[in-house]
Amino acid sequence: MANINDPLIPVIGVVTDIRIDTPDVKTFRVVTPDGKKAFEHKPGQCAMLSMPGVGEAMFSITSSPTNKEFMEFSIKKCGCVTQWLHQIEVGQQITIRGPYGHPFPVDTAFKGKDLLFIAGGIGLAPLRSVINYVRFYRENYGKVDIVYGSRSKDDLVDYKEIIDEWCNDEGINVHLTIDREQEGWDGHVGFVPNYVKELGFDTNKVAIICGPPIMIKFTLAGLTELGFDKTQVYTTMELRMKCGIGKCGRCNIGSKYVCKDGPVFRCDELDELPDEY
């Protein structure tokens, strides 16, 4: 049979760097065997990574599209594919296919606006792509606020980049918080939704949220209290996916497929979907 070129057939990726971010998050750098990026993507899009025999799973692409050399994925140890990834060494080949999904509207709705990023735990992974894209095209955007929280200081993903780069950028305000008091931490303590309310942002901006569903829910409520309209708030979602291309039928909420119509949704769009998430 002639060669078949199907979207479900992946290409080979090589893991060229593994960074340990937190006790359960590692960031994997992936290129093709000839050292190039496997494909171009837009901020917020995802890719299917797999190890044959272990399984395939969808991950958001953490690196910014402006990085022309490689892609990075920050991955929390959680299920069987992620557990396998967490025990590999540099040089390991994996398979990769993508990019999938609907990206953040960085070149339309976000353009020229003040931006408020709100992330919890591993939820920073998809936003990091947007944040670094915005930093690269700094002149296209207004003031940037980043509220990021996690269980403890050790659970903040790529703390080094946050402190060394984001905090030193002009026009970017980083607000970090952790859930409980911890020795050596003199920053804010408390949950993200409460911190957002405490900080009390003006509503003349676009908010982008990602984190555990419960955090998204309460943060969204907090933003509404502050006067944000749902059309100003974007989030990105996660459901079980197999194909990544809107055909295998499992990641739908109502008539929308998270893999194809999402993972990025504007919060008023989510309101129109049935409550099944």
């Binding site: 479900l8 109502g254 008539s255 998430y277």
Partner: protein, 342 residues
């Protein structure tokens, strides 16, 4: 219009088989009809529904995606699809033919599923009008006419003859190659057959079933209806309805370790299964009611929303016969669809 004496059908099958593999409904050892490859002596079964629908030809229950070989840290991808060359299917009913259109909207939309596409392109479909539609048939509800089955070659039968009417280039080309087995005929006998079938369709118990109250953008109206509790209460959570359904297309992608390598394949999956949406991070559909609702909302609301109002049901009636607890889309339509269906 061509025709052939029924008693000579084997000659036609033999002639087609010389050109291309031919599949047709055959009674198996359990006296169920299933599509089988024709070889000399294989008898065509006039049974209306095969247990497994004709979707198998394009979306088989399992299908290789590719193989992998691993050594050390390296992976090799080996293409290993088993796609058929040209083939013909005889005896596809109008409902199953329509199901291909439903599946096309999924698999042929971008990005195109090339396995499905290749199979579709390589097939010539001979349909067969339904002389004796059954009590469980409700294709009419979805504007399908069992008297006018379409396809590459549409076929009709009476006591003595099978009539063949090629409709597409593919159909004409194949029939041209087997003309020696066929005689010419006017439209008249088929007109008579069609009229009889249309009369019979009108007398079917489910002829007046209407899905009109469902369709695009009706999520809000139906999603939270309390009747879902009652409708789903006896559901066993098995996959029978989804697997015999000609339009169900959910699939899983799995790896099978052969000991020499890994085969990545896709297989039918069912939204009725408890692990269908289960993730390591949680489970959005925790009860059978939610899974049950998903299946029918998909067919009657979500699919139409995404496909210009087209329903993802063709009224073949397989689920009516096969569900272990006899819950099915007709009962759902009647319960939720309002008074029109009494």
């Amino acid at each position: 219009m061509k025709k052939i004496l029924k008693k000579n059908l084997q000659n036609l099958f033999a002639a087609i088989s010389k050109e291309t593999d031919l599949f047709l409904p055959v009674l198996n050892s359990a006296k169920n009809a299933e599509f089988k490859k024709w070889t000399e002596g294989t008898e065509y079964s006039e049974e209306l529904n095969t247990v497994r629908s004709a979707k198998d030809f394009f979306f088989p229950q399992t299908e290789n995606i590719c193989d992998f070989k691993t050594s050390g840290k390296n992976i090799e991808i080996i293409e290993n699809s088993e796609l058929p060359e040209n083939f013909a299917v005889f005896g596809v009913r109008a409902c199953d033919l329509k199901s291909f259109e439903v599946l096309d909207n999924v698999f042929l939309s971008e990005p195109v599923d090339s396995f499905y596409k290749t199979r579709r392109e390589n097939a010539v479909i001979f349909t067969m009008a339904c002389n004796r539609p059954k009590e469980t048939c409700f294709c009419h509800t979805f504007n399908i006419n069992a008297a006018d089955p379409k396809g590459d070659v549409e076929c009709f039968e009476d006591e003595t003859y099978v009539y063949l009417n090629p409709l597409t280039q593919k159909g004409k080309d194949l029939l041209n190659k087997v003309t020696s087995a066929l005689e010419d005929e006017t439209e008249e006998p088929v007109k008579k057959i069609k009229a009889e079938i249309e009369e019979r369709l009108k007398n079917l118990p489910l002829y007046n079933l209407s899905a009109e109250s469902f369709g695009s953008d009706k999520t809000e109206e139906f999603f939270n209806r309390k009747e879902w509790d009652e409708l789903s209460e006896a559901c066993l959570g098995c996959g029978t309805c989804t697997f015999v359904c000609p339009t169900c297309q959910c699939y899983d992608i799995k790896d099978f370790n052969t000991g020499h390598g890994v085969k990545r394949f896709r297989c039918w999956d069912s939204c009725m299964y408890s692990d269908f949406t289960k993730m390591s991070a949680g489970q959005p559909r925790t009860h059978q009611k939610e899974r049950f609702r998903q299946r029918f909302m998909h067919k009657l609301v979500y699919y139409p929303t995404n496909n210009n109002g087209m329903f993802s049901c063709v009224g073949c009636g397989r689920c009516l016969k096969k569900c272990p607890i006899s819950m099915n889309i007709v009962k759902v339509i009647k319960k939720l669809g309002g008074t029109a269906n009494g």
